[in-house]
């Protein structure tokens, strides 16, 4: 109640008038009442009432915070977080090697960024995840829906249908092997049509449409509360041309990252972004680095880099708060994103020096 008037979310003109009239705390405003307020400052009674309602809402929110109420606060102990994290599901990728290095799969409530050269399989992974998020819980999935925001136009419905059909087939085989009742029931609703109907597709042609869509996303997610995955395929594309003002770009990207973090946390969904690679010309050589600059690197919690080694596709876990840096091979089959069949490769976990500034971790075992 002792909150200063200047910190209240009122319009700037109104705040200026309140300051000029000498009001200092929110309590004073509430004591004065709408009629008194309108007389002293010279605004209409309706405006005064509106202002007081805003103040009242703010203060009750504050009171709840100081009393330690739940809902608006995010205060909890690490033990509660641990229990939450362990109970949380992962979105599997159908490539067990990739799931392993990620610690189980794509994590909910975190932002995962996938960078890679053109044609290496980023969009394939996104389509695979949009299908995998819908796997029913009895088969080990999170039974959610997916939002697919496409900025490059690389989403092919036929390919997604193929991937979905392969996934349904896979689950059907598991159900036959296990013969449990809830498996059969889940299979009834897990079909090609239902999978495709639960992928919500937005095609954003430029960065304004992307910004607008991300502003509207919280409302959309409240309506469709079963969404557990938001994919933005091509976050770099709309920001890489027609931007003379690079500081504006950085500001917009940071704002975007913040909003995505809030969305991921509030709605318990995973956010997956794909980024392009760009050539950085150094003194003696040029290297491929993720696009959008250094500061964008902080936005994602988990970063995967897909690259080639001769004709083998490799995925490197480049940044993660809980898992070790490692590289695994993967392949793209007509059924989607899959492991490379053994016995081909022993895990290549030594550093393919993607970042010369990071100290490589030494392998203790092996």
């Amino acid at each position: 109640m002792q909150r200063a008037v200047g910190s209240l979310p009122l319009g700037p003109a109104l705040r200026a008038r309140l300051a000029a009239a000498g009001f200092q705390t929110a309590q004073e405003l509430l004591d004065t009442g709408p009629c008194g307020l309108s007389r002293e400052i010279g605004i209409s009674k309706e405006e005064a009432l509106e202002a007081l309602q805003v103040v009242r809402q703010e203060c009750s929110g504050d009171a709840a915070k100081t009393a330690g109420g739940a809902g608006t606060t995010r205060k909890c102990t690490a033990l509660e977080l641990l229990e939450e994290e362990q109970a949380q599901g992962f979105i599997i990728t159908f490539c067990s090697a990739l799931d392993n290095i990620l610690g189980g799969g794509v994590q909910l409530t975190k932002i995962t960024e996938v960078c890679g050269a053109p044609g290496v399989g980023k969009t394939q992974l996104c389509m695979q995840l949009a299908v995998d998020v819908q796997i029913p819980e009895c088969f080990g999935g999170v039974c959610g829906e997916a939002v697919f925001i496409d900025t490059e136009g690389s989403f092919m419905v036929d390919r997604a249908a193929d991937i979905a059909a392969a996934c349904v087939q896979h689950c059907r085989l598991i159900a036959e092997a296990h013969q449990e009742e809830d498996h059969q029931k889940a299979l009834e609703t897990f079909s090609l049509e239902s999978i495709l109907s639960h992928i919500y597709y937005f095609r954003c042609r430029d960065y304004i449409e992307l910004l607008a869509q991300v502003y509207l996303l919280p409302d959309f997610l409240s309506e469709h509360s079963k969404v557990r995955l938001v994919v933005i395929d091509g976050i770099a594309f709309p920001f890489r041309h027609d931007f003379e003002d690079l500081s504006l770009r950085t500001r917009l990207l940071n704002g975007l990252a913040q909003q995505l973090i809030i969305i991921a946390n509030d709605h318990k969904s995973a956010v997956v972004l794909t980024n392009q690679m760009t050539t950085r010309i150094g003194q003696s050589q040029s290297t491929l680095v993720p696009a959008l600059g250094e500061s964008w690197g902080h936005a994602a919690t988990v970063r995967l880099i897909f690259h080639w080694d001769k004709s083998q596709r490799l995925a490197t876990l480049y940044k993660s708060p809980s898992q070790k840096e490692s590289t695994i091979p993967y392949t793209i089959t007509p059924h989607g994103f899959r492991d490379v069949q053994p016995p081909a490769v022993t895990q290549n976990t030594e550093s393919t020096e993607m970042n010369p500034r990071k100290r490589p971790r030494r392998e203790e075992e092996k």
């Binding site: 053109p118 290496v120 954003c204």
Partner: protein, 360 residues
């Protein structure tokens, strides 16, 4: 979409006038400001500003569709999803042919057959739907002055002798191919911008640009400071315009590119090897006439990384043992890497191992 005026976003009149005093007239200006700036500029409270943001976003945001709706729409009209190339094995691997609604790039060393391929596709697009065509006009933007009308007629006559049996049909076909000669980057961009109206008025079903690389590489020397950024800018703008046209009208867009050898003081730049198709070049480039022994350089598609991200499908043509050449599917969202061998005949490209395309 971005240049949409705030008036049309159904904001109240006085608010629009107030914002225009701060030079904020389009949705783009509005959405680029932070919340605090918006509060200052509109004079409204925090909650109201959030509501205004939602309103403006609603005016700009794309419509939602589910993947199922997209699939149903495509299956209702299956023939319109691809343009068959009549190269049977290639069509199979690409699930039908050159996809509609996305950009396809053909890249090759000089003389392999890019322009021949483009001319062949132009003929195919004018064919009626029953024969696998799109029954529409073609816009052909030629930057190298390589298009030859005689060759067009020769290919048409030899490939479909039963259909083009009269001069009348040939003239009809040639009338629907609109050729534009553009020799600078600016004019190419202007031409692309003007295409939207042309596509509607002339019922265009295929856009070909032959070739993007020649006009870009003439004007932008990437050794010079600042040119790399400008070139990427131009390419990205062109790519997004073409993507918009391709998707809006559901038509295929074919672009051609060149091969470049990046010599670099004896060190191959690993950064340029962005796909294994580039590796294939290194091992097979010796077939190209006049290249001699492979020296210290590596061969990649021109126009850089950004461009490679923008195209959705990439086909690479290469020399093999003359006269055989090969066509590789290097990048495609639906096809794995595949190689096919072909030769160039009177009737255009002919895949080896398949009989000459059966007369209809």
């Amino acid at each position: 979409m971005a240049a949409k005026k705030l008036r049309r976003a159904k904001l109240p009149q006085e608010l629009c006038e107030r914002l225009s005093r701060y030079q904020i007239t389009t949705c783009q200006d509005f959405l680029c400001l932070s919340l605090l700036e918006l509060m200052k500029v509109t004079g409204q409270s925090y909650r109201n500003v959030q509501k205004l943001l939602c309103q403006v976003s609603l005016a700009c945001a794309p419509k939602m569709q589910t993947a199922y709706e997209m699939k149903v729409r495509r299956s209702v009209n299956p023939s319109s999803a691809f343009l068959s190339t009549t190269l049977h094995s290639l069509d199979e691997v690409l699930h039908g042919g050159v996809p509609c609604g996305s950009l396809t790039e053909i890249t090759s060393p000089p003389g392999c057959g890019k322009t021949q391929f483009c001319i062949l596709m132009s003929v195919l697009a004018t064919l009626p739907v029953s024969m696998g065509g799109l029954d529409g006009a073609v816009v052909y933007i030629d930057t190298e002055s390589a298009f030859s009308a005689e060759r067009l007629v020769e290919i048409a006559g030899n490939r479909f002798p039963a259909y083009f049996d009269s001069d009348e049909k040939l003239f009809c076909m040639t009338r629907s191919i609109h050729l534009y000669r553009e020799l600078t980057c600016d004019s190419v961009l202007k031409r692309i911008k003007s295409l939207e109206e042309e596509i509607i008025s002339k019922k265009v079903k295929l856009i070909i640009i032959d070739s993007v690389a020649s006009v870009v590489r003439k004007e932008f020397d990437t050794q010079l400071q600042g040119n790399l950024a400008e070139r990427s800018n131009f390419l990205a703008r062109g790519a997004s315009l073409l993507k918009y046209l391709a998707e809006e009208f559901s038509i295929p867009v074919i672009l051609t590119n060149q091969i470049t050898t990046s010599l670099s003081n004896g060190l191959a730049i690993p950064a340029d090897l962005v796909s294994p198709a580039d590796d294939l070049f290194l091992s097979e480039v010796s077939g190209a006439p006049g290249s001699g022994k492979k020296e210290s350089g590596c061969v990649t598609a021109a126009l850089g990384n950004t461009w490679s991200h923008s195209v959705n499908t990439r086909l690479i043509l290469q020399y093999h043992d003359l006269p055989t050449r090969q066509i590789l599917v290097a990048k495609s969202p639906v096809a794995p890497f595949s190689v096919f061998f072909y030769t160039i005949e009177k009737s255009g490209l002919v895949l080896q191992g398949s009989e000459i395309y059966p007369a209809l």
